[in-house]
Symmetry: D2
Amino acid sequence: MKGFAMLKIGQTGWIEKNRPVCGPMDAIVRPLALAPCTSDVHTVWEGALGPKENLILGHEGCGEIVEVGSLVKDFKPGDKVLVPAITPDWNSVEAQAGYSMHSGGMLCGWKFSNFKDGVFGEYFHVNDADGNLALLPENIQPAEACMLSDMVPTGFHGAELADVQFGDTVLVIGIGPVGLMSVAGANLHGASEIIAVGTRQVCRDAAKYYGATQFIGYKDGSIDEQVMDLTGGKGVDKVIIAGGTVDTFEPAVKCVKAGGRIGNVNYLGSGEYIKIPRVEWGVGMGHKTIAGGLMPGGRLRMEKLGSLVACGKLDVSRLITHRFTGFEHVEDALMLMKDKPADLIKPVVVI
Amino acid sequence: MKGFAMLKIGQTGWIEKNRPVCGPMDAIVRPLALAPCTSDVHTVWEGALGPKENLILGHEGCGEIVEVGSLVKDFKPGDKVLVPAITPDWNSVEAQAGYSMHSGGMLCGWKFSNFKDGVFGEYFHVNDADGNLALLPENIQPAEACMLSDMVPTGFHGAELADVQFGDTVLVIGIGPVGLMSVAGANLHGASEIIAVGTRQVCRDAAKYYGATQFIGYKDGSIDEQVMDLTGGKGVDKVIIAGGTVDTFEPAVKCVKAGGRIGNVNYLGSGEYIKIPRVEWGVGMGHKTIAGGLMPGGRLRMEKLGSLVACGKLDVSRLITHRFTGFEHVEDALMLMKDKPADLIKPVVVI
Amino acid sequence: MKGFAMLKIGQTGWIEKNRPVCGPMDAIVRPLALAPCTSDVHTVWEGALGPKENLILGHEGCGEIVEVGSLVKDFKPGDKVLVPAITPDWNSVEAQAGYSMHSGGMLCGWKFSNFKDGVFGEYFHVNDADGNLALLPENIQPAEACMLSDMVPTGFHGAELADVQFGDTVLVIGIGPVGLMSVAGANLHGASEIIAVGTRQVCRDAAKYYGATQFIGYKDGSIDEQVMDLTGGKGVDKVIIAGGTVDTFEPAVKCVKAGGRIGNVNYLGSGEYIKIPRVEWGVGMGHKTIAGGLMPGGRLRMEKLGSLVACGKLDVSRLITHRFTGFEHVEDALMLMKDKPADLIKPVVVI
Amino acid sequence: MKGFAMLKIGQTGWIEKNRPVCGPMDAIVRPLALAPCTSDVHTVWEGALGPKENLILGHEGCGEIVEVGSLVKDFKPGDKVLVPAITPDWNSVEAQAGYSMHSGGMLCGWKFSNFKDGVFGEYFHVNDADGNLALLPENIQPAEACMLSDMVPTGFHGAELADVQFGDTVLVIGIGPVGLMSVAGANLHGASEIIAVGTRQVCRDAAKYYGATQFIGYKDGSIDEQVMDLTGGKGVDKVIIAGGTVDTFEPAVKCVKAGGRIGNVNYLGSGEYIKIPRVEWGVGMGHKTIAGGLMPGGRLRMEKLGSLVACGKLDVSRLITHRFTGFEHVEDALMLMKDKPADLIKPVVVI
């Protein structure tokens, strides 16, 4: 079969591989729609996961099952399915402890285009089909379904990590597709004012649609000073970090209230240390909790978040600014993600 | 001063009383708008709080401060304020334990028209002004502000007690004004499907506006059977009880999933026992948690929920179906609440 | 192979069955020690699980693995293992939601002597060995290990459900072996005063050893009145119900403080309804949360609770009052459990 | 009256001041026993709170009430009381949000020897007596009662911040008096293995008494490597930081499991940044939550923790290595705290 792969650090291309083999609990899926992610860009051109050779890329997509293993009970060939980017080993002790995304080791619930070939192939393999797939609701289109693999669960996890509650003032740093879903997640968890950090107009428009009420630019001064101005010196109740770098935590700590929380869902690709300013962190005693975590994946997560889209309470189509048709356009979509033109939020390839 | 009072069980009328006296931490407030509550009806005509004589009624309103005590720091005469129905003693051990509504004893955070004169007077007394009042945001009208005293915080507490999370299917039993705010609260906390129980058209229209997706009637069969039909036999993740009687818990337990929660905010006025069906409660081991609680009141709660209205994310005007102008119409508004015509959700009196 | 079984309601006996078959994720275990449970008594003589024929009894034991399936990674024949009474299907949506004991349906994580043959056989079958077994720590004897199957995790779950915190006053109703472990769990979660309800001297002595500070008898007046006397009218912060009937919730609600929690781990074998007294439950608004649940099982739970025994912080030997040697004594042990002599807490059979 | 004060940075001495004035909600207390804290040393000799002149030191002590304000309801002159180091303004929005220690601003619940004169005077002032004092249980001696002001609530808060649960393996960094109470708190919240970092024999002996099971020395290699060795490469479930510097977080992050928590109760006196190692923090996504907070104070906290001592479940006398008699010895006790001889844990002055 054909697949679009990372050949080595800095180089991509189409390769031929054997169709993946289906274990007794697994499924083989033919993609219906696919989307590239900024992580794919990090993986290839920054070598963020280290040197990988001939690894099929991609962890966002939906598809149709073509084969299931002998122990699979709830799915059969022909079923159209949502596919999460994170597909845990559910019987691991980490999953039993509530951290399925770290099953088998930190971040090891992330398998696609990390430990095994990703979804940018004519077929892809899903471990534990019963535990990790969900039926595609009838009223969700394949293109929209791709947003449920990573953008929605990751963005919403930001709101969960920050523990947004009724009436909170929330700062969302970064309004790319993940940050936009953090805005939507904060909004759907009861936030009042949502201050969004970002400048591209297409993103600001989408952020406003998803619930942002005020905007800040990276270049208009430090984030924390702008936040303090906007809040009359009070600061914000919660911060979601969905963009930036290891240096983004400093302004976050500075402008969150004592007793607040900072939830990070940004992949920190470089830098040796995240630096927490001692004094503004209350000399260690300010109750400004710092939490960061990989999205929860698996079947239930897909069913729950899918239901928000299916019942019309979350419209993910605002994320999709570029649409391609045909498997071969996976390459174009990835290059678009790499080049990030001003009008891009997220490209999707329908197959 | 004049006040509209419960004279004795079953009888109301206008009385003259001395203006309340302001303690060192307190405030005296002149009402700008007032609303009657079904609780007032229970208090007078059902004697729910026992025999009371010449007690000024009412616990929903907003007003303008006319006097503050010597220890009050953050408010002054002339300030327009939100007033919660529940005004705790914040230094009590119960408040320190996180249950301010039970400060000094179970339910004892509820003082207005319970332990002391309520808000249906030319002036009313607020204990601990700094701890219990909040400035009225400029873009909230006094009529709408009345909804923040009790309907919004009580209804939203239902969503808190039921612990509604992203993608939950939620059953809301009762869609009077509190139930409608439970629908809104569940919706603003991430619920997908919201099944609402109620039949009046004005309430169903409002419920749909606030996020309900499906409806059930009390007379179309048992609630649990209707829910099981709608959910394909799966049941719901969470239940909010905002209406009904002590017998409402039985269908709630029957149709909530194992691991679900039932949150009650309904004042249970009569009946000796709430009955939990043993088998469907998992012979004691089904993890169907039953929580019921009086709304949290106080300043922060008013500020937080007020900010949802102020920033346009919650429109409470859909609750107000009848508007009066003039203090003397408090009586008409209460009678309307007693008679519950088909087109009523909530009446308000602007002064 | 031989097994000790329920032949039909009211009748037990030894039967011959085929050795269970090992699926790809499973293990076959030969018991090293076994213990009967009051549930076995309910199952046989009260028909609590309905009519069952020739079902091998027992869900408490430890053993040595004799066979593992092809997909099992962490265990091999010869390994000595802790075996939980509850062995979930970890990839079920219920487990993903945090309620593994209800995987596949309410209470369906309980398989031994319920849906399949129990542990009172020469061999028994364990589903998902990697997910449900734990290595037996070297310094735990097989007899003591049996207490980790059900008594410890169930009793401790009472303390979890009641959410015992530093300095709480806790009422534990029932001091049979589960209740004793609820006392120990409350004590190990920071309770101060622990008021235990029970009269048998052997149980009171053990309860005192595990942390109980005061005692109440069922026959010395109503539980709630005795508690109110002991606490100067304040009531208790938390209640753990580990004995009694559906009628035990009434005194529990009456003597728990507003804002308190009642955690039930008692199998409620009969009665149509649990009755919650309306007035003392705060007319629905007293924040007296009622939670009841089956113990969490599986590997991590065994590892965690096993470590408490292994490091010497929990001595379960005080539970074992009667010790037998030889598989054939399983019958005697069960009869002892049925007859409950005054000096019995728990019998164990070492094989 | 006489008081022992910080005269300026680096200098202490006895001064004369007017007896403090009692506001309507307050109390004036005469000390029965007092203890110096390492914070006092930081305040004076490191100028940690900035330049202060003639500020009476001390925030650990108990005493007898000599005067109460007109609004105080639950206390009267002659009552012997526990006094917490942190005395919040309970009606502040921060306290209403659950963070009373930050009432009025980050860390502003800490008033003694910070914003106002401390307890090392012939009399001291307590704001909000009803909210912040607790009756001294009869069976707690004044010397022991001093440990309840700061050492117990701070140490135990470490276990709360780290969210220690049944069977957790916990690392406690620092076993001075606060760290010892973190060991005790972790132990009383269900920890199994407790690995303690510290070398002084008197501290190790006390740590073993309070529940530590293994020991590590600062000088025997990096903390994280030693922990990895002890845990077979698995790391620990939770970390409590009760000593060290801003650099202590690096090994903590390195040796805590994904999904673990780090709770800090150490006052970080110097350094610009706390540095979180990016890779071991899971490139931002490892769910290694970092929480740090000032102890909760106030009346309920004193009652709850006091009850643990009163009922014999926590023996704080092991903390007290040096005892003085007579108010004038406050100076000697502080100097001892400054010099930290090898056999010191905590000195107390009984008056």
